[in-house]
Symmetry: C2
């Protein structure tokens, strides 16, 4: 190893990046210092700027530099529908379909008890406050007076995403909110022979 505390410190710091181990971190540090010092400074400045300026949208909880994000401010969108996703990347995937014109709520995570992620670590209470507004005396507004009429659960179809969807559905359905889930079924372009059994079973049950 080159004898440099600065290099060692940089390697240690780069391991904070998700998916980067000690060998990758060392390779990144060498690459930046040997071949791309301007790039290294660009990353440093971008990190500081983002940390100091990026916060959460008051309405949908996504990362934004404004108090309310551009999507939530868009008056063209259907404000009666709220699509719940885990991350901004999931929201971006839905946006690319051009098939949805409602609003979003970004949990910024998923329930994961084994990792210590409970309802308070992700934006569940903020979601409930948004969907179930109260009047000035703290009583729930009646269903007809609420802005959000339908909550579409678009968390991932993993164990943790399903559990997160289940918890949200339980809490909202009992208070008269219409809750739907993205359809499970056979992916477009796939051959049945190669689709897993659980997916085919769901596609059969949900046939239309």
């Amino acid at each position: 190893m080159a004898d440099s505390n600065a290099l060692e410190g940089l390697t240690q710091a780069l391991r904070k990046l998700p998916g980067v181990g000690v060998k990758s971190a060392a390779r990144m540090a060498f690459h930046l210092l040997q071949h791309d010092k301007p790039g290294a400074l660009q990353i440093a400045r971008a990190l500081e700027h983002a940390v100091n300026s990026v916060g959460h949208c008051t309405l949908c909880n996504t990362l934004t530099e404004q108090a309310i994000c551009v999507t939530c401010l868009n008056l063209q969108r259907d404000r009666s529908k709220l699509c719940v996703v885990e991350t901004p990347a999931d929201q971006a995937a839905l946006e690319r379909t051009l098939a949805y014109r409602g609003l979003y709520f970004v949990l910024m995570g998923k329930l994961s008890p084994l990792d210590g992620v409970g309802p308070n670590e992700i934006g569940l209470q903020k979601l409930f406050d948004r969907v179930l507004p109260k009047d000035e005396r703290g009583a729930l507004l009646p269903t007809t007076a609420r802005e959000v009429q339908e909550v579409i659960l678009a968390t991932n179809f993993t164990a943790e995403g399903e559990a997160t969807a289940h918890v949200i559905a339980q809490a909202l359905k009992s208070r008269g909110v219409q809750v739907t889930r993205l359809a499970r079924g056979v992916p477009v372009g796939s051959e049945l022979e190669y689709v897993d059994l659980g997916t085919i079973a769901h596609a059969l049950v949900d046939r239309r």
Copy 2:
């Protein structure tokens, strides 16, 4: 995508890291801003500190904060042997064996004409100046007056590493320097059945 120029800028900047594409960069940016803002600032500070303080060792060309690195300053080491490696990581691998007590020269790269890396991009001239010192009138010192008596080529056994070793060997042998190469052969612990033909052929030719 969350609407944030700072986030977008950070994602773009993180793509400067080797092996990081647009999806990895976005995941890294979200992770740092959502879960680890102190880690993000630590990376930013480590980058700036390293860029401002790390340079090349005058003698061996490795990355260091001092003018001459700790390895080159170590008087316990055999100064008549010089082991040429591509990167500090390769040097670290050799050091872990505890089998070598000479000095190193770190090329910080390898010849790679297709990528535009020629002799001037890696430290070849610095290596030649080190191995072949001149007197005050610019004439080569005779072999017996030189500090480095043996150059051990430990570049990687890839096409580019072999080419780099070949170029160095050609230049030095013609000026009376003893040049050796790490032995090729069957790796320790491996079964012949699974070793590739080229390796077995080299192990046969170099048998001892």
